[in-house]
Symmetry: D3
Subunit: 249 residues, 6 copies
Amino acid sequence: MLLHQSTWIEIEQFLQRSRTVVIPIGSNEQHGPTGLLGTDWMCPEIIAHEAQKNADILIGPTFNIGMAQHHLGFPGTISLRPSTFIAAIGDWVRSLAGHGFEKILFLNGHGGNIASIEAAFSELYAEASFARRPAGFALKLFNWWDLEGVGELAHKQFPTGHGSHATPSEIAVTQWAYPDAIKSAHYSPQIANTGPIREAKDFRARFPDGRMGSDPALATPEKGGELVALAAKGLVQAVDTFSREPKPD
Amino acid sequence: MLLHQSTWIEIEQFLQRSRTVVIPIGSNEQHGPTGLLGTDWMCPEIIAHEAQKNADILIGPTFNIGMAQHHLGFPGTISLRPSTFIAAIGDWVRSLAGHGFEKILFLNGHGGNIASIEAAFSELYAEASFARRPAGFALKLFNWWDLEGVGELAHKQFPTGHGSHATPSEIAVTQWAYPDAIKSAHYSPQIANTGPIREAKDFRARFPDGRMGSDPALATPEKGGELVALAAKGLVQAVDTFSREPKPD
Amino acid sequence: MLLHQSTWIEIEQFLQRSRTVVIPIGSNEQHGPTGLLGTDWMCPEIIAHEAQKNADILIGPTFNIGMAQHHLGFPGTISLRPSTFIAAIGDWVRSLAGHGFEKILFLNGHGGNIASIEAAFSELYAEASFARRPAGFALKLFNWWDLEGVGELAHKQFPTGHGSHATPSEIAVTQWAYPDAIKSAHYSPQIANTGPIREAKDFRARFPDGRMGSDPALATPEKGGELVALAAKGLVQAVDTFSREPKPD
Amino acid sequence: MLLHQSTWIEIEQFLQRSRTVVIPIGSNEQHGPTGLLGTDWMCPEIIAHEAQKNADILIGPTFNIGMAQHHLGFPGTISLRPSTFIAAIGDWVRSLAGHGFEKILFLNGHGGNIASIEAAFSELYAEASFARRPAGFALKLFNWWDLEGVGELAHKQFPTGHGSHATPSEIAVTQWAYPDAIKSAHYSPQIANTGPIREAKDFRARFPDGRMGSDPALATPEKGGELVALAAKGLVQAVDTFSREPKPD
Amino acid sequence: MLLHQSTWIEIEQFLQRSRTVVIPIGSNEQHGPTGLLGTDWMCPEIIAHEAQKNADILIGPTFNIGMAQHHLGFPGTISLRPSTFIAAIGDWVRSLAGHGFEKILFLNGHGGNIASIEAAFSELYAEASFARRPAGFALKLFNWWDLEGVGELAHKQFPTGHGSHATPSEIAVTQWAYPDAIKSAHYSPQIANTGPIREAKDFRARFPDGRMGSDPALATPEKGGELVALAAKGLVQAVDTFSREPKPD
Amino acid sequence: MLLHQSTWIEIEQFLQRSRTVVIPIGSNEQHGPTGLLGTDWMCPEIIAHEAQKNADILIGPTFNIGMAQHHLGFPGTISLRPSTFIAAIGDWVRSLAGHGFEKILFLNGHGGNIASIEAAFSELYAEASFARRPAGFALKLFNWWDLEGVGELAHKQFPTGHGSHATPSEIAVTQWAYPDAIKSAHYSPQIANTGPIREAKDFRARFPDGRMGSDPALATPEKGGELVALAAKGLVQAVDTFSREPKPD
């Protein structure tokens, strides 16, 4: 069930049977010579939309801009500062919690988001903690590549050249979903180098075409389809486990 | 051309021939018994995506959560506070301007966003003004219903019962784009009443089913298609005019 | 009744008979070669002070600095950023609402303030909406030139050359109130040109003497007196209507 | 010379002969049974306006709302939080410094403002200090009662019953300037008690009629006139000294 | 009793017998050619730790970075902006007040902190005042040099050359506590000059070796020991007086 | 070399030979029935102070309050919100970078700090990235338990009952450094249970005595001494590696 394609009355009814909602969250940032700028928000969106086709779970609109400051040296990247990101996640959660949602699961598509999302969760919990009252909600972050079995599959599909940015697995997912937008390029070197992440000018100097440790040429739509199918199954299971988690006495 | 389905290299090339980008912006909020929660961000997205099919214009990702505080009494609404909204628009604009975009056009789908978007523009210009330097960019807001001819068409299509929230014109647009998500309901009264907008509890008391002055039963996918076609044409023209606007000497 | 010339005991008594207060709000910014820097806050102050002479309405201190970032290229302009402006309006409203005022009417003298004031209202309402409780107050913005009949009178007085900044109508109002501060200059062109509002450097390049579309030479103290009399009457009426507005059931 | 009754061209000319501007700053807050709510911003305004009649000094608009949180228990008080206050002072200073003002003197009328104004100055200086560049301006705070000779005169006029809030000296100043707004009351006790300043509920419990240590019945318009005359002279002198202060080598 | 060397259970027990806690607060900033960078936070820490040896008072962790923007021109200085400082003090107080502490005494070691600490107190009280509820805590600032008798002793020890920054008294205190870190230098001039405090570049130009009006050569560990002993006694007394202060009826 | 026990001239000299500084950072929070409230900031301080005894590395003052919102249900815990924490880390880094430090290493003692510290780093880098300029500094976070060999030693020392909060390893470190502050208690159960971290009320309900998965009875001062010795060695090595890290071309 897609929240944005539902009416408020349908959501009111959904709240009778579940208090859990999934928010796909990612980033809009360069993904090397062939990766789509939207890769990191399109992957969790693709997986979450797929998952709700066969399960009674609720998927919210996609939070499509994240913490991508280090990619700002490449055109098309759009980033929030952590402080803005934290404020925005806060307003999403406060909106949803006010409707009665008690379990809010962010399905994340960008490694660079993790620290800021966790900090946002702490900021939200702190509001309750400073006031010595219960928060009324539980927040959880799942990276799609950490869903049950997904990491193993990616490792099997791409034993070398997976890397950490513009990876063949994420590119495969978007190839499966948007076959008309598959791009190609000559990569040099075939597997990109690695290094630390600092600010944008430093990043572009270290990683001239934007990839980190990856060989995107390994991606195929078929492998993407396999990843989506497994991740969608893993998401349904993660939602189920999270929904059942008991409160402390 | 969709920014998020492009690579950074394609955007770098686009910047050689144009310095203008369009951001669809809206809100995720209740739209009465039959309107989709995503109506206000889906409408500008639908129109902008349609427009780029036949014109060399660049459409960014959709800014899908806006200023909908007065709808928070209805489940499914997600709102940013104006302060968060202003901060986030700021980071989008600073990201894009840093890449060389000089004309950033927000195609808006929610009347309640207008004041906060304009305030965000002022906040961004003020950074330059306090430093007594040029901003390097021009910002413009277009509501899709104000694009050339669109208001007249809507008035012709819906001479009565158009109203100002959950209007038949916006619902028609989403019906055209998402025919599988068309909903129906019995409306009472047929045309909803009107009144002032205050905070969420007050809003729900004044407008029990969420509509303001509208009769959504008048919407049809066909009328939606007419609106989209005309608005898409109007957007291409608005982009062209904005792109040509000269700087002062 | 002027709040700042009253004691707290007199305000406590006023609250027994009315819950409405008027705040004149404007901007301190260049107004062309002959307009006073204080024009935009002095106009609503003049009108509001006049109005309370013959009616039992309460006028607060004048909020004299607004959103004038685009005028910062001209000496004497003082501007708040929208974010500061919103925070300050918030503290004024929270102070007054805490005393029991339920209807707070801002009488505005500057077009550039409108978006930020409306955004401030939304920010205030959002505090209540996110908490799902009533705000306890209603906020309304009136531009003095939109008070009953005022626009028509100005149009009759100045059929051409009214423009939108450093207008003969606002200059006439200050001439009537401060006859010792009437200035004169040679205007070239007689009617200033028009154009978009961006940041300060751009503004000064487009509008070299600070006027937008206006011929201030048309102003006279007599015309100013007529405008003040009509606007004062309109304000009393607006306060009355706002005070009577019922809450939803 | 009053900035708000001048044109931008007159300010541009003033900047040829002086780089100093005076901002009257105060608070709008209860002042006991007979003191006007505007006392603390009207006093520095009265003195500064008087001072510019016989000296070529520039007086800006009055910053009329300050840090009065502890008076919020009394109707009519309007307060900014320190954080809002600091932000607003910052925007005033940045506006004025951008025009070329290098010495900005705040003439203060409220003891409760001092810490926050000094903190605002530090915040402004810190912007330059963190960037290791000169600020380009110097900021100074003068309380009107600390101007040359004023404290001694007040002590001579009111050897007992001066106190620290709703003092006979400040009330006398407003009586001189606004003789039509002189109020009277029976005081009990004649001289109010003293104590620490905490939050508003605590304040009202300690100081039931709002006074702190004062007997306002001692005020007369004549004494007010003497104070204004001396303070105006002291202000001219303070401006002169500040203007001449050399920069370090 | 040192809070950080206690367990939460010991603090829970302490709260049965007292609701007062002392926070040493200072700054890490240059202190001339021989003063330690930590002088301003080490002095109140030394005194507070000494005081708790013979009295049942509770000393919290030291707040060691304050408002030192004007010293940023000298290596080793670490400063918070006033806005950050105020936010941090706020979180400390909200944490402690939530545990039941009702009297929170900051023992300060840096004159430059005073305005910002007082502004922080006002910001905290304002939260309660705007909500018209009691704060539940009282906050007090003591500079260690203002504790009973300390100023007199310093004056007797250092009748000339005390000055206001890198003073022999504060240096003597650190010499007593950290004899291994005593430094020496040739001073020129022997007694440093004085002047106003602005931003960092200005400060370093006015005060080339960092001292203001002081002759640190006068410091000895013995004099430091005398100051610590007296200040520790004064602190115990100040805590006692503050703890006994009654609430208003 | 301890920064706070040095003069600014000594730091100026240090900067001739190194551009690296270490900041111990932790948290002040409950650590079960026997752990000291300061454990998490005292551990990195102890290790860093030990490390500088035999190596020419510079240790700054300890950042002693971190992100401990979930422990606020236990007396003595002091927490910053993530937003305050990020702002404060920002000011520390901007202060140090302004002096010429190019490598700033935070030695962390609290797992709950990690996300917020990383978010703070991103916020700092983003300032440079949005402006498309180099940051001028590199930031790195080390948890003391991740220093070379430390995790293995702890695992060998405490094969069971280590847990994740109030661990025997961190308690052993403080026992070694502060033998007079060793506490004892009866634990029930001997090894505490585990679970997710939410807000403070939830935390205290899940973890009644504050421990998570640990048996602190296993700690001894001797084991603490071994950990400190190894960690100090690891820190010197980490500083060396970080200092040598080359910039990109």
